[in-house]
Homo-oligomer: 256 residues x 4
């Protein structure tokens, strides 16, 4: 029994960047690759931090849209998606390798992540690019969505991602952000959701019944004034429960 806490890093400048402080509390880092945020220098610094803390290094590729932080949906051809992903994986891998590290996983960012949860064609284009780049990489996507499915279909190791501060529907998908109860507001409720997810792979859906969910890795936010405090809490909670943290699929068989 083990679990993974992941965090999107290398995305913010100046004081807003709390990456160094977050490192002790996570087991895998998704590092922005310079198109929606970050850049060579910040990538190298974040990679060095991850290596120093023994945190698994993942690519966090997004749309080439720094002005909107990769949050605006785009409509790209499969070929365009492929080049977009390859570019970012290659760029980060070069920086990781020269520091003596190894790329471990890939988790798309923002609108690319969200669209790939529902759009099987987009999911396949992403998974194909990841496989063509390096078939040993773990593909991380929204739990139960098209992205881990596409990775699985292509023979990639995949990790299904869940959230502590988002409420779930009975079908195992997230309550849309447009609805008033999309967010879990209190730390206690969020920790309870972590416990249910980590120990039983279950979540209490909005409607009240418990739902089975693939839950290989939990996303901790790396920004905002409360991010660091909650990361500490989540880490301490798992430690107290006797659940060690390891990156997903390090042994290619994380859940058995």
């Amino acid at each position: 029994m083990h679990w993974d806490l992941n965090c999107d890093l290398g995305e913010l400048s100046g004081e807003a960047n709390q990456d160094a402080a977050l490192m002790p509390f996570i087991s895998s880092a998704n590092i922005a690759c310079g198109l929606h945020a970050g850049g060579p220098e910040l990538m190298a610094r974040t990679v060095a931090l991850a290596l120093a803390h023994g945190v698994a290094i993942g690519a966090h590729p997004g749309y080439d849209d720094r002005a909107h932080f990769g949050r605006r949906p785009q409509t790209l051809s499969a070929a365009q998606v492929r080049e977009l992903i390859l570019y970012q994986l290659g760029a980060l891998e070069a920086i990781v390798r020269v520091q003596g590290g190894r790329l471990h996983h890939v988790k798309p960012h923002g609108a690319l992540y969200n669209q790939a949860a529902d759009d099987a064609e987009l999911a396949l284009a992403i998974a194909t690019a990841v496989r063509d780049f390096d078939p040993s990489l773990v593909l991380v996507g929204l739990s139960g969505s098209a992205l881990p499915q596409a990775g699985h279909d292509l023979g990639l190791a995949v990790a299904h991602e869940v959230f502590a501060d988002r409420r779930y529907l009975a079908n195992g998908r997230l309550v849309p952000r447009t609805e008033s109860d999309a967010l879990i507001e209190t730390d206690d409720e969020a920790l309870a959701q972590i416990q249910a997810l980590a120990q039983e792979g279950r979540v209490t859906a909005r409607e009240g019944h418990r739902v089975l969910l693939r839950a290989d890795t939990l996303c901790l936010h790396g920004d905002g004034p409360h991010a660091l405090a909650f990361a500490q809490k989540a880490h301490q909670f798992l430690t107290e429960q006797g659940i060690p943290l390891t990156p997903p699929n390090t042994d290619k068989d994380p859940h058995e």
Copy 2:
């Protein structure tokens, strides 16, 4: 007797952006203009917030270097500086004007601000562009530095900026960040510095003696986990001292 709390806004994406929460505690906002950070949409949203809160709107132009958040020094010709500033003032002014607002001041960002504190030629190029764009704008720069001097020389209203969390030298300049005691770490010491600056225009320098300082406006940080809490404290402190907040130079004579 009145004072100004300013904050750099419109610079961050997602949860890291606390602009809406900060607005009640400041009197002037410096809004990023899309070259070092921000963009049309975030600018418009920040302008709307400022108008709703009666906060004075300033331009926060920086180097055209989003990848490094405008923090890398550059060496530009006077003509290049001029176009850089005009571009950003014009872009923001259009967005402000259509919302029924008015641009009030200009405070350069990052490396442009720092270099303009010591480089009289650069300071003059910035001040000239501001004057040519709109001679009624207030130019904000590091207290006692080349930038407000250049603005003054060209007949602009200027505001000398001071900091609550930076220690000062006996000559009224900041202790360089490279030195171990550059930062004031406790809120109490920072509030004491605010009090001395707001009420007496004085600061206790590192060496212990009190130094006179032009202090028209205080910079509050808008990023980082502690930013919002300190803005609240600073605002409450000034309120308790009976010092009302107004943007600098609204009457062209803020200190008498």
Copy 3:
């Protein structure tokens, strides 16, 4: 009887930039505003060239997508379009005004231009932003399309744009680029089309019959190895025909 030759300028770097050489042959310049191409410095240089040659200065705003030269379609809200346009008009206007010039017209770029030809809502958002910025600006769009219609509806002066090297359909719209006969390949045929457009506002459609067309301004390409030579030919041809060049709508009534 007069006509307008316009060209998209301020878009290219280095040797590929032939703007200075093109200036003598055109009457209006559409200058890129730093989001799909160009930037403060190139804008200022192009404005100076236009002023020196008495060429009317227009804004050429595009999507914020330098990586794809503003050629990828986007789906923005009306508010996003508004801020996008305002930002670019304001930025260019500041640079023009300080050089003693005046902004004369606005012609959207690339995917924004193409989508606004068919999408009445997008066209209205663009036209509204232009009117709110400065109602004396001329709005340039594809002849007979939704964009000049939207400008007209809002009371703006508009200019209907035509092309020398594109073949037309019987309904007055362009043969899509995906069809094999979309382009007119020889200079002679292109000049014949210019003559018919300039003198009679007519074009011979692909199907052979002559079609009436609003033709206020002709777009000359500013890039590619043949651009300069053809601009010279077109200019000389109109001169020989005794048709003087003037920017569209300088007198608000260009065609009567």
Copy 4:
């Protein structure tokens, strides 16, 4: 006896991009890597063209400064240079590898190329990054300058680059562009310089005496209205002289 014609490609949008037309006349392509120009999609398209024409593929990394096309000098630390180069090599290599190709060489772009010709520390930082990424890559730099020297010192294969349209000084360096006779204006003189360089590794300096020069590869311009015509001429000229084109250092010993 063989020689190399290289060209900087993947840098331009739309009609200005003549890469496909240039391919038949060159033996090696330097492909922009998305920071000063280009991007994933254009890189992939240019790589496909190069593979189809049997043209050697090189990386053309530049400063992260799309707004100025990588032409403004910067002052970076050795570590910053290293990450800048690694990022771009990795990004291009991923795209090349998935298409079944191999990266062959690296030629820095613009201000990075020019500064590395004179700045031994910068040259060493570039060469170190190239070696750490892949020690089999050929490093291309200005003939006789610090960059190929640094590559040589680190054990890399290097190629000394010369120009057909630039005049040389008696010391083997280029006449600065600020001087009136920096450029060779006629095709005939440029072809004569090509002949002298390719066959004898000599050039007639401005002062009239002939100068020995390392000349492993000649840079053809890929932009501007005359670029394609001159590339054809240069290619035909070398063919007529019986000098076959091959990328430099394919055998690690190109000149003996």
